[in-house]
């Protein structure tokens, strides 16, 4: 009761317009913010904690947001929890780089290994809509062979789903997000036309194109989840380039402006600032609901099924933190693989300057792309990579200069003066799944009293060989385009995957092809953590395609009474 009053009090506070979404819940009292309308609300169904809902979903990003919409639209009762705030893009997102650190998961985490991961702005979001609220919108398909890396390419593990099926769901995901992409995609099997036309190229993208033509490789406009023409209440992109600190126009088709309103309209409840700490399992080995912290209180939501979609660090952490006497190693962990095979993607870059003014920050950061090294197999390492044009904002750029180039003081200022002439090419490379790269629990606890994640990461020789290949090639390409004063950024990584891998065998995987736990039949995990291999492309579209497939499978299982 007390918590309800807090929620209502917050709602009153919101009317006065001065409460931060970071401190005060917004989705309460029968309504949730309408991200498309300044001060607007969507009416929202609410469920009592004691009511056993069909699905309780942890996380509302690429995986969770998609499932919430699909399952609610199929008529299931759904409550989706997110530890992050519920933003109103039109009001909360300033065109101010420094104001936006609020978007990232900056809760405590411990990193170690030979190549400890830098956590935060580059790889984990914390908001209703998840990381898609501040992602760079690059929406790519993995090449067919990536779904059978073990049998087709000789490394990693096979996915339990055929590439043809994944590609069918890619088409659906692209349509749900109205991806703006090229008319003809130069690589891989024929794909249907992208729902929206490509965006124009900025000068940074033209550099990539020029270099590619000089070297005789294909390039194209990057398929992006930001619209090039109006879509409903989303205006077309205005090319100001604040995408990674939150798009304030709603051109970006994040989960927050696409799947979340769909979910709410279909009867789902979304709970913001609701941190799930533990999943409860009964003596029959079935999940019964989850414990969550909201408005200063721990509460318990009953649920018939639980779906975990907190991404590759938080999902395994939740399963591990939910350990009981019967499940001493954490939930769903009979294989011992929960937390194992963490993967990131190599994100090295070459930067330099052009004689002409470029203004690389204008527009979405990566408007041109080449997948050449995903599809050309004449290379001396496993896996593949893409590389794209770049456009970091000034603060981000200065952190590259201080962090990776070691500049400071006058040298830094002098370099920053060249900002408008700067260009860059950045890879997104497939890192190998290694069992030693993992998420475990540290002894320390966070603000909720939950044990924090320890993230251990080391590159293997294949990772290093790919990075070297990419840096050499990108440098060659940049030089061919007339880029001068080239500097290599050798240490960056970004997207995450793995830790709760899917597979066809319960001994070597945690979930099956339906993202369903082998051990606990009413527990699903559907997010980036189920990837057996991460592929050489950015992960979000694959996660969304997977979530669409999982939704279809759940509907089918429910029809057959097998849920």
């Amino acid at each position: 009761m007390c918590a309800d009053q807090t929620i209502l009090a917050n709602r009153e506070g919101l009317r006065s317009g001065n409460l931060s979404p970071m401190q005060q819940v917004r989705a309460a009292g029968g309504r949730a913010p309408d991200p498309h309308v300044t001060g607007g609300w969507l009416s929202m169904q609410e469920y009592a904690d004691g009511e056993e809902v069909d699905f309780a979903i942890v996380g509302t990003g690429a995986g969770g947001g998609t499932l919430a919409a699909e399952l609610a639209e199929a008529g299931f009762s759904v409550v989706a929890f997110d530890a992050g705030p519920y933003f109103r893009p039109l009001e909360d997102f300033a065109s101010d780089e420094t104001a936006q650190s609020q978007l990232f998961w900056t809760d405590k985490r411990i990193v170690d290994g030979d190549n400890p991961l830098k956590m935060g702005s580059n790889n984990s979001g914390k908001a209703v809509g998840g990381s898609t609220v501040h992602y760079a919108m690059v929406a790519l398909r993995q090449r067919p062979e990536s779904f059978a890396s073990r049998t087709k390419q000789g490394f990693g593990a096979d996915w339990p789903i055929s590439w043809q099926e994944m590609w069918r769901y890619y088409t659906k995901a692209e349509d749900a997000l109205k991806i703006s992409g090229p008319i003809r995609y130069p690589w891989g099997p024929k794909r249907p036309r992208y729902p929206y036309r490509p965006h124009d190229l900025n000068a940074a993208a033209l550099m990539l194109a020029k270099g590619a033509e000089a070297l005789g490789i294909d390039w194209t406009e990057t398929p992006l989840a930001t619209v090039s023409a109006p879509r409903g209440k989303s205006p077309p992109c205005v090319y100001r380039g604040f995408c990674r600190v939150g798009c304030s126009t709603n051109a970006k088709q994040s989960a927050l402006v696409t799947f979340i309103p769909r979910a709410i309209r279909a009867g789902a409840e979304v709970r913001d600032l609701a941190m799930v700490g533990r999943i409860e399992v009964n003596k029959d080995g079935r999940a019964t609901g989850l414990h969550y912290h909201r408005a200063g209180q721990w509460r318990f939501q009953r649920a018939r099924n639980v779906i975990v979609a907190g991404y590759a660090i938080e999902s395994p952490r939740l399963l591990l933190n939910s350990a009981t006497d019967r499940h001493p190693d954490g939930l769903a962990n009979s294989s011992g693989l929960v937390g194992k095979y963490l993967m990131t993607q190599s994100n090295q870059a070459v930067f330099g300057v052009m004689d002409d003014e470029v203004r690389w920050n204008k527009g979405p950061p990566s408007l041109a792309i080449t997948e050449h090294w995903n599809y050309d197999d004449r290379k001396d390492f496993f896996g593949g990579y893409i590389h794209m044009s770049q456009g970091p904002l000034p603060v981000e750029w200065s952190s590259v200069l201080t962090g990776s180039k070691g500049l400071w003081g006058d040298a830094l200022l002098g370099e920053l003066d060249k900002y408008n002439h700067q260009v860059g090419l950045k890879m997104v490379g497939e890192m190998m799944p290694q069992e030693r790269n993992q998420v475990t629990l540290a002894d320390e606890v966070d603000q909720y009293g939950l044990r924090v994640a320890r993230i251990t990461y080391s590159w293997c020789d294949n990772d290093k060989a790919m990075i070297k290949h990419a840096l050499d090639f990108m440098q060659q390409q940049a030089e061919a385009a007339g880029v001068k004063e080239i500097f290599r950024q050798k240490n960056d990584t970004n997207h995450l995957a793995g830790t709760i891998r899917m597979g066809a065998d319960r001994r070597t995987s945690v979930v099956n092809a339906d993202c369903r736990s082998w051990d606990i039949p009413n527990l699903f995990v559907c997010d980036g953590s189920v990837f057996p291999t991460t592929g050489g492309v950015n992960p979000s579209l694959t996660i969304q395609a997977l979530a669409l497939r999982t939704a279809d499978r759940i509907k089918e299982l429910s029809r057959r009474g097998e849920l």
Binding site: I183, D200, L201
Partner: protein, 341 residues
């Protein structure tokens, strides 16, 4: 259909223009003499051919209806109107778009100047009831047509010169290749209108020595096809996200086809169908302006941010080009009237 003359107020300006450009003895103008000669020899050749082939020819061609010279002037003034509307669309559109392009190339001022002149010439022509061509208008219209040709070449070069060459993204976002065509069409209509003012041999209005109705219908249909192509490209770029975006790629091409049908096969029924569809195209152009204004509203910030959105949103001045072309089509229909009596 007949057009009422405009109120007489602009007369004084016209007289001033007249005194500047109109020679007292039109026959002394060498360009006109040359054109006249060309026209007459065309007509003679055609007449000879018709006589020679008479027995085998379809009725429509054999028949040489006698039309009052007034009809030629009426049609010419209708064309002036069409041409002026197109030129006005070009004036405002190229002002916006070339401002957006920061007039990076000095040549980008050209369409502004020629289209402004064309608007003036067309106003002049619309109020002018005389049965003779006018040097100022003639030259202006010719200039407009040339500007359109040269502009198209510039735009094609602009597309091809960026990395990637003639690929979709460059057609979408570089200089629109179809845009300069509007001023070319405006010029063509104008030149045709000047030819029309003088009755052809046998009192039948001609253009370039050919039957006026059919020639004009052909020019109009060609212009319609070009204008539709331009709209299709840009609406395709905008993904036909609003169903109304299909209107300009369905109604106008249908009206172009019906007009050609009426011109070739003749008959009152066909002319009625063509007339109805051309009026629908007139309406399409007008409605398009409102749709584009609504499109501006759908950009970030809408009309409150008009400084940016007028440039980045759908171009408000372009849809009336359809109205202009359709008006010319209606004039052509008037001339076709009675062709197969």
């Amino acid at each position: 259909m007949s057009f009422q003359p405009l109120p007489a107020r602009p007369e004084r300006t016209l007289r001033l223009l007249d005194s500047l450009f109109r020679r007292n003895k039109p026959a002394a103008d060498p360009a006109r003499i040359a054109l006249d000669r060309l026209g007459r020899s065309f007509e003679r050749a055609r007449a000879t051919a018709i006589v020679a082939a008479r027995p085998g020819l379809p009725d429509a061609l054999r028949h040489q209806p006698l039309v009052s010279p007034r009809k030629g002037v009426d049609a010419a003034r209708a064309l002036n109107r069409a041409s002026g509307l197109l030129a006005f669309s070009v004036l405002t559109d190229s002002a916006l778009e070339h401002y957006r392009g920061a007039f990076r190339n000095k040549a980008m001022f050209t369409p502004l100047a020629t289209s402004a002149l064309t608007v003036a010439a067309s106003l002049h022509g619309t109020t002018d009831q005389r049965e003779s061509a006018h040097l100022f208008r003639d030259v202006t219209y010719a200039l407009a047509a040339v500007t359109g040709l040269v502009g198209t070449a510039f735009h094609v070069f602009n597309v091809g010169s960026r990395v990637g060459g003639f690929r979709w993204v460059n057609f979408f976002y570089r200089a629109p290749v179809g845009a300069p065509m509007a001023i070319l069409i405006s010029g063509l209509f104008g030149v045709a209108s000047e030819r029309l003012r003088r009755e052809g041999p046998g009192g039948r209005p001609t253009v370039f020595g050919l039957g006026a109705g059919r020639t004009l219908a052909t020019i109009t249909a060609g212009s319609m096809a070009g204008t539709v192509g331009e709209a299709w490209l840009l609406h395709f770029r905008g993904n036909f996200q609003n169903p109304a975006m299909y209107i300009p790629v369905t109604i106008p091409p249908a009206s172009g086809a019906l007009l050609m049908d009426a011109a070739i096969r003749g008959g009152e029924k066909r002319r009625t169908a063509a007339r109805a569809s051309l009026w629908a195209t007139v309406a399409t152009g007008i409605a398009g302006t409102f749709f584009h204004a609504y499109g501006v509203q759908r950009m970030m910030g809408g009309w409150r941010n008009w400084k940016q959105n007028l440039l980045d949103g759908p171009p408000v001045p372009t849809p009336p080009a359809f109205t202009g072309v359709a008006l010319a089509g209606l004039a052509a229909l008037d001339l076709l009237e009675g062709d197969d009596a």
